[in-house]
């Protein structure tokens, strides 16, 4: 097995008194793709948001690329720089152009020069096929285009790890595939990815591991072939049955 890039051990998280993550353990090797699914409120977002400290955890241990995530700003900063995140609501900066959305991070967090950052940004926009929109504002783009811009933005720091939190859930159906295609390409290029999604086609195509969560716990995790053919747990079976009905 490859050296684990992300090691989550016995993670515990509370929102006030609500126990949102219960003893979650998950190791992701460099270059591996993990898909996390589960019913609404099961803690999927909480889990990925703990990895780059958008949410603090109260117990257990998170280590990314050898850095233990604790309260020290340096550790938080290092982990945020070596990971990129894509959100359900895109979270592009509406007052900045597409190009500026991409260059802002590297210029201010990595102290790159504007021309350096712009050249890199144009490469990435090319890669996600929205280079022609570089000078527009996010509000002028379709949902699918915005999410592809968001993916390019997450790639600007050359992250070793990409976190996705339901990247296609707020897209109109006809735009889902253009975003998934980009994600599949990234997966094929060997980027380590933790993806919260209910797109089981995506899980089948690229996941090394599918994780099912319910009520703050990891209920089951298995490679996609086993996970879909032979789910071990009742709750997993029920969940998959519902997804099949919906699809």
């Amino acid at each position: 097995m490859t050296q684990a890039l992300v090691k989550i051990d016995g993670l515990q998280k509370w929102y006030a008194d609500f126990h949102a993550l219960r003893d979650v353990t998950l190791h992701v090797g460099a270059g591996e793709r993990v898909v996390i699914c589960g019913p609404s409120g099961s803690g999927k977002s909480s889990l990925v948001r703990c990895v780059n400290r958008l949410e603090p955890h109260q117990g257990g241990r998170i280590e990314v690329a050898g850095t233990v995530l604790d309260d020290s700003p340096a550790a938080v900063h290092r982990i945020r720089l070596l990971s990129g995140m894509v959100f359900q609501q895109f979270n592009l900066f509406p007052h900045l152009t597409v190009l500026e959305n991409l260059t802002l991070g590297p210029i201010h967090a990595l102290r790159q020069t504007a021309s350096q950052a712009e050249a890199h940004a144009m490469q990435l926009l090319e890669r996600v096929r929205v280079a022609d929109q570089a000078l527009k504002f996010p509000g002028q783009l379709s949902g699918g285009q915005q999410q592809r811009v968001a993916i390019a933005r997450a790639l600007m720091t050359n992250p070793q790890l990409l976190l996705f939190d339901e990247p296609t859930s707020s897209l109109d159906p006809e735009m889902v595939s253009e975003v998934l295609d980009v994600m599949i390409e990234l997966a094929r290029e060997g980027v380590t990815m933790i993806v919260v999604t209910h797109e089981m086609g995506f899980a089948r195509a690229v996941a090394d591991l599918v994780v099912f969560m319910d009520q703050g716990e990891v209920v089951e995790s298995a490679p996609p072939a086993t996970f879909f053919a032979n789910p071990a747990n009742d709750r997993t079976r029920q969940f998959l049955a519902k997804l099949d009905l919906a699809a």
């Binding site: 900063h77 720089l81 991070g105 201010h108 509000g139 600007m156």
Partner: protein
């Protein structure tokens, strides 16, 4: 059986809206006599105007004395004495500033008004504006104080009139806005001390009338400072005005900060941006844009609030007008002089009010782009 009418693509006709052709008679009827109450209001209103307008006209125009250097000519007439404006406008506009140096005050007014107009063009908004204003502040100080470039020195105790009004106004806004941002950010700080200080300043100042803030600056400030340190009276008043404006505007800015979705903070953090770049590049530009219409309200009020400095013996335009009317020959025509000052205030405030409407629709349009 339901009846459905089908139109084949391209065959639907565009019809004129049947009630679109009004004609003026119809407009008048719908607008002013649409019903019993509307008709009564129109009649009463027109009757009221008909009784008031003729006497206003007689006083302000027909029987008015427009120009004379002799106050007795005014006394003979039964109408307004606009001549008082011609007689006193230099004092009204420039207060006790040395008479032969008034051009310096006039330059300051033109310069500051011009810059304010430039700063309101959205296309010119950038951090460079702060540099421009910093340079402007130095220029204004050189013009007003003098003492170099062969300009005679004029102390702040001699400043007055419209240039002083402008200086008080611009200072309140230019220093008050950054203070407001600092207070608003501080109020949301995670550090309890910073939060407490900011809440304290905001709530205390908002709980006091402006007049008492000014008196506090004049009377209380010297008590806290070492006795050999005397702070210029105008400077003390300015500090009071800045803090007063800042405390009110802070709450407006806070409203804008609250309107920014949490996802913007998430995205900034995920990119590895620290607190200050996130604030300056992402959160504040959006928050301030949202609250510009509300801030314009505070800014217009700040212009009118400049008149309060006259209660502590600083001669803004209104104070200078009052002082100019100590002249026994003209004192009875104070109404006319005050109308003139009101007009100057109205021009500035109305311009700002129109501007705030323009900026509101303009920013609204940008939101939907």
């Amino acid at each position: 059986m339901p009846r459905i009418s089908h139109t084949r693509p391209g065959e639907g006709r565009t019809l004129p809206r049947p009630d679109s052709d009004h004609g003026w008679l119809r407009t008048v009827r719908d607008g002013f006599f649409s019903g019993w109450i509307s008709g009564a209001i129109t009649v009463v209103f027109v009757a009221g105007l008909a009784t008031i307008l003729p006497s206003v006209w007689r006083w302000a125009v027909a029987d008015a004395v427009w120009y004379t250097t002799d106050p007795s000519a005014c006394r003979a007439a039964s109408g307004a004495c606009w001549a008082v404006v011609a007689e006193k406008y230099r004092v009204i506009l420039f207060g006790t500033y040395p008479y032969d140096q008034h051009w310096r005050g006039a330059l300051v007014v033109l310069f500051v008004t011009g810059l304010a107009v430039l700063s309101s063009v959205p296309r010119l908004w950038s951090a460079r504006l702060f540099v421009v204003w910093a340079v402007a502040a130095v220029t204004v100080a050189v013009l007003m104080f003098g003492g170099i470039f062969g300009l005679p020195y004029v102390g702040t105790n001699q400043w007055g009139g419209l240039p002083l009004t402008m200086i008080v106004f611009i200072t309140s806004v230019v220093f008050g806005l950054p203070l407001a941002v600092v207070l608003a950010l501080g109020r949301r700080s995670h550090l309890p001390v910073i939060r407490a200080v900011c809440i304290g300043v905001i709530e205390i100042v908002r709980g006091l009338p402006l007049v008492s803030v000014l008196f506090m600056m004049i009377i209380l400030l010297p008590l806290f400072l070492p006795s050999d340190l005397t702070v210029d009276k105008l400077l003390r008043a300015l500090i009071g005005m800045v803090v007063f404006f800042g405390a009110y505007a802070a709450e407006v800015v806070r409203g804008g900060l609250q309107a920014i979705p949490a996802g913007q903070y998430d995205a900034a953090k995920a990119l590895g941006l620290g607190y200050w770049p996130s604030m300056f590049k992402i959160i504040l530009p959006q928050a301030l844009r949202i609250v510009i219409p509300a801030l314009m309200n505070d800014i217009i009020r700040a212009f009118k609030n400049t008149t309060f400095v006259s209660v502590i013996g600083i001669f803004d335009m209104l104070g200078a007008t009052k002082a100019s009317l100590r002249d026994v020959d003209w004192v009875r025509y104070s109404t006319e002089a005050y109308i003139f000052v009101a007009l100057v205030f109205f021009l500035y405030c109305f311009a700002m009010s129109r501007y705030s409407q323009f900026i509101e629709t303009r920013l609204g349009r940008e939101d939907t782009r």
